[in-house]
Symmetry: D2
């Protein structure tokens, strides 16, 4: 079974998947290995991911490894209908379209679980959380793609209710450093520029949250000529931001000076009524964190005397005194939810999805010894992916000499 919106776009989707494939050489190589070994032979894998071209390359990889795939979106706005169509045409079960309602979104996740998957790849933790609430059994384990999802899984582990092992793909250096930092930065930039056609140089940009995502965004925004303010709750991260040359302040102060606000905290209501009330006319409100809860849209709707659709992916909120605040993509992930938002670069997802594919196989191969806990990605997988990526860039790795290996393991020197 499959539920998609535009089956007629399959050819377009194939073309985009083909392009992505060419720029994901690490995953291509892993796909070839897995096709020979077939470690997922006969297994049902349920995915909740952004349904677009790079993800389709992962789907094909898992399929070549022997798996039977069902996929739903992990965000109501991030599905590219042409890619959903191409995947459906290839025989995968797809439950996803751009512009799902809240209800349809959950209904689609439920459809994935109803196929009784033995393995899960999740992005944000909704599928995992739903599996627990539905009491689904027979799941060997899951891989989780995001900081948000890993945090939720750890909370479940702490509460003692986690029912299967979860590999925190997000937490591995190869994922966090590259996907969260470089991927989100480039894709957020692309999305904001494409949606607004506004200039970054000379702007005051407020970045809320200085984790890997915030670090990447702040650094690229500064590089583009913006003056960047960082708002952070952790003193060590805040201090790092200060030494990186950003102006570190609280949202109360930042809300008076910013032109563009970008949230990436993983938290809730980071920009609120007291902040909206003192913003300048014409500011942009943008979310690059996982869920659409970082900007308190409910309050904004309550405060506004007028609320209307602006250009594509922009809503205008007019405050009683005439100031206009613009929300991009309904406060959802700007780099995926916009009509022409492209998501992370292919080369970045090449790494993240290589980690996913290998971790999934690891789950199968070690299922007997793994407990319902959150596990890190095995170091050898992380190093393997990083090394392959490095070579694909044409870079060279220095080899250690025998003497150096000895030296590094001695305290006498």
């Amino acid at each position: 079974m499959t539920r998609i919106k535009h089956p007629e776009l399959a050819a377009l989707g194939r073309s985009r998947i083909e392009w992505a494939t060419q720029h994901m050489p690490v995953l291509a190589r892993i796909a070839k290995e897995l096709e020979e070994r077939k470690p997922l032979k006969g297994l049902r894998v349920g995915l909740a991911l952004h349904v677009e071209a790079k993800t389709a390359v992962l789907v094909r990889t898992l399929s070549r490894a022997g798996a039977k795939i069902t996929i739903a979106g992990c965000n109501p706005l991030s599905t590219k209908d042409e890619c959903a169509a191409a995947l459906a045409e290839e025989g995968h079960e797809v439950f996803a379209w751009r512009g799902e309602t809240e209800e349809e979104y959950w209904e689609n996740l439920r459809s994935v679980l109803e196929t009784r998957p033995q393995l899960i790849i999740d992005d944000g933790g909704d599928l995992t959380s739903l599996a627990h609430r539905m009491g689904v059994s027979g799941i060997f384990g899951a891989c989780e793609e995001t900081t948000t999802g890993v945090n939720r899984a750890k909370q479940m582990e702490r509460e003692g209710i986690l029912r299967f092992p979860i590999i925190a793909v997000n937490d591995t250096p190869s994922k966090r450093l590259f996907d969260n930092r470089f991927g989100t930065a480039e894709s957020t930039l692309q999305a904001v520029l494409t949606i607004t056609n506004l200039q970054l140089s000379g702007k005051r940009v407020v970045v809320a949250g200085y984790g890997h995502v915030g670090r990447g965004i702040a650094s690229r925004m500064k590089a583009m000529g913006a003056v960047v303010y960082v708002v952070e709750v952790d003193p060590i991260r805040a201090l790092e931001a200060a030494m990186d040359g950003f102006i570190v302040t609280d949202m109360q102060e930042a809300s008076r000076v910013g032109d563009i606000f970008i949230t990436c905290t993983g938290s809730v209501n980071v920009i609120r009524k007291e902040h909206f009330s003192q913003m300048k006319d014409g500011v942009l409100l943008v979310n690059a964190g996982h869920f659409d809860v970082e900007i308190d849209l409910r309050s904004l709707r309550d405060m506004a005397k007028e609320h209307r659709k602006g250009i594509q992916d922009v809503e205008e909120f007019v405050l009683p005194d005439g100031r206009r605040l613009y929300v991009l993509c309904q406060g959802r992930l700007v780099n995926l939810a916009g009509e022409h938002s492209m998501g992370h670069p292919c080369e970045i997802m090449d790494m993240s999805f290589s980690l996913q594919a290998l971790s999934l196989c690891y789950l199968v191969e070690h299922r007997d010894e793994m407990k319902p806990k959150v596990y890190p990605v095995p170091e050898e997988i992380d190093k393997k992916v990083a090394t392959l990526k490095l070579l694909s860039l044409g870079a060279k790795l220095e080899a250690q000499t025998e003497e150096q290996i000895r030296y590094r393991s001695s305290w006498l020197l």
Copy 2:
């Protein structure tokens, strides 16, 4: 009369023009002044510009100043049909659509000249050049937007065949520094990211030409984490590139290492057969200069054993040995010719078009004293626009004290 493609898109166009208007405060203020004075009352103005939202704001401004407007595109691919529709609906004569053939392009320019304009705004010099070849009379003068167009006008002046004064809007500091450097850099980045969904960090980017455009692109590409190579024919510019931290080399060497090539020289056949023949598999060929002649596409077509349409705005050329070279937007201005290329940021065009509007009025007011020569923008216009822009950013200008003014004009100290 009007020739456009999608009159039904007028509402969409109006919405985009409205958005642009909100982000062009300097031009808004000038429009208000001009509406009161009506310096262009009853004059016919012919435009050859990229027909999109920011240009529409200029059209409206000139119209409020009293002019009767006719407009054609200055590039076969850069028209946004929804904006053409909105302008047509407002009663302006529009000859432009996305995807004109070479013939249609020139036919449209001809239609503009057939309205016997008294003033011209040109972008690249084709309209001016055509006016001369057609022997059109009655033109008081023209304003030119680009380096390419100014160079051509100067050449005509040197050859003694120029028939009316041309104000080199391009050459004023407020235009060159901001439009050519910052505008093209941001819009090129937006276009490349949107078309390809590829990553910039870690890439080798070759920038051909280190004028204002090249400088902007090189600097932003480096800021995004690319390793940037600069190819330049002028020793002083080349040296500046080297001290700015770029690797300066010739195209022969650069063509062996680059992943992305961006031309912005204003010259012809900058990347040629001998370069294609040694490029890596999968490189991107991108033009950000005015005309589609910087990449020698004819040779590339001859060399390729296969040539096919890839994803939107990308053509794939397969060389006999299997290497694939990708050309974006048919070698035309990537930041305008792509389907989702947004052109310069609104705030940048706010300055450039403010200069255009004021320079056009200056042409009218000084038409008796001006000769068929290339003129700079009067300094007071340049400073006025820069000052208004500065204030719109919330920045403050330091005032000189009496003592300082005296000091700066004394040699005794």
Copy 3:
């Protein structure tokens, strides 16, 4: 007892210590707290640190906390004689001067241990190592300042020979992020510019090692307009360097293109004969790692047909074919060993030494429960120091709301 070189410089030393004190507000505040509590009352503390102004502020702090201090240098070249003089004048036991021989260096460390210290602060692990080799007893514990020293301590722990607890001050985020990254970068830059009077923009700089120190140096060198190459043995670090926009290659290739080589690996013979033999004429060889073993000076001496003193802190090695290679500061820490090398900025050492002072007190207070192991700095000390520093910069920390704290600890969302 005390052994120093220039007691007559004490006044100059006091003036520099006074300046440093003014720029170490966090340590000043901690000194005040400790002076009231006197947690080190009557304890003998032995230090092996760079004997210069900032260290003197730490010595005074520990002294105000009640300790009796003995100090030796941790590098034969890094002592500032005027500061040694000032400390001696104040009654501390000082065994340090600029330009110690290898023998004198170890003799001075021995003198520190002969005072039978109960607590140690070490920089690089030589004092700790010597204490073990001498079989000194009565030491409650030590704090270690560097990556090198911590690695050695961990090796001792692994081998089961460690005799007292060691707090790895180096490893705490507040130290590594700031001291290793920002401190070394600025001080290395200062030293290289001061010693050589050469230009960085346009140079090819090779950075060996992409740990915190290498990251800082590479980033600042690039920011100054250099083209930076990174040589690294770890694939994940190497990949990070590539995505940060550096050219990642091996030393074999780098040695052919570099103008300036900076080692910061913590390893040995990173630049060797095979590399010297293909370097360009006039290259600079610089070490910013802990010990003077990263550049293989023995081989260089063997290869050179001539070896002579150049300008201050520079040695010239002339190879048989006439190429000249310049070694700075005898291959020792360039940012400390040069005559006018200033070491880390005061504000950086404010943090590192605040961590040292508080960790030392922690060792005393928890001596009964601590084992001969390597311990991390307690998180509350780390956060305290970061928070105080942040406030001293005038930055503001965002507070979490109740709702946010709840949200972050829930998996249901």
Copy 4:
């Protein structure tokens, strides 16, 4: 005759001059050409320059070209006594030492003019100005090194009192772009770091003046992690600063937030009483402009309740409310006047002094046709120096094809 302070330091000076020579390859090559041609044979050349190692290389070059040299300093604090000694020892007439009084400074310039030079190289315009006030005759012409000196010469030209031609070496692209921008930025950074041992990352730095010098300093300070504020009187420059990502404001506002203030305006009393009165405790006041008039030291002295010598090259002014303001190098050029300030990098002066040497020869060769006016450096000299420099860096220049040359000179396209 010669007046210097430390003849015993000649050997040290020779060693530094030797080092500089090795890093000034362009000047070395020009010296060789001039030595063969002897275009300055028998001519008396009077110099007012910073008497240090790079300048000594110029002196030797001119001497090899046949000239008889007399030299004085152009700043009371910038002479390196060891280099003065080395030059004197070689037989040049030297009137310079570090720490001249105002009177001695002018006396030394007078001594140069008393040798009746036929050619002058000046830095700042004091020697030229004095020659006019003394009514010295027999001068063929002069070359001027700085923006300040050129401005003064142009003022003299406008007033009709200029008595000989002056070549504005400062104004040539090869000088301004490189010396003023990159040279001053690196040397100012070196000087501030060396004098203060303070940290740049995380600091608020206020740069007054956004000419070439200001641009360089602002850009490098930002690159080092500072938050940079720019104060400027010209709207176009101010706007450029804003788009370059700096915070543009007036001194009134900047004086409340800055930690470090750097003046490079060429103007007078840029930082004044009303600014001092609201600065934070502990700020640094630094001048990188030509004369010591940019910071209003007289007012500061009047306001201070206490004024004392701090560490080397730092004066402390204590305001009545206890705030301390620190002035570096008595408000003189920080990059030359500090005891360990190294001045511009050798490679930069290689270009500037090559331009000087060739311009001086040009003056001799064209003396009959040149009038008492300010002349630009002939373009061929500028291009020659840039090309030689480029090659010395190992960079490659792209050659234009015949087709490209034709294309660039046609308006038909």
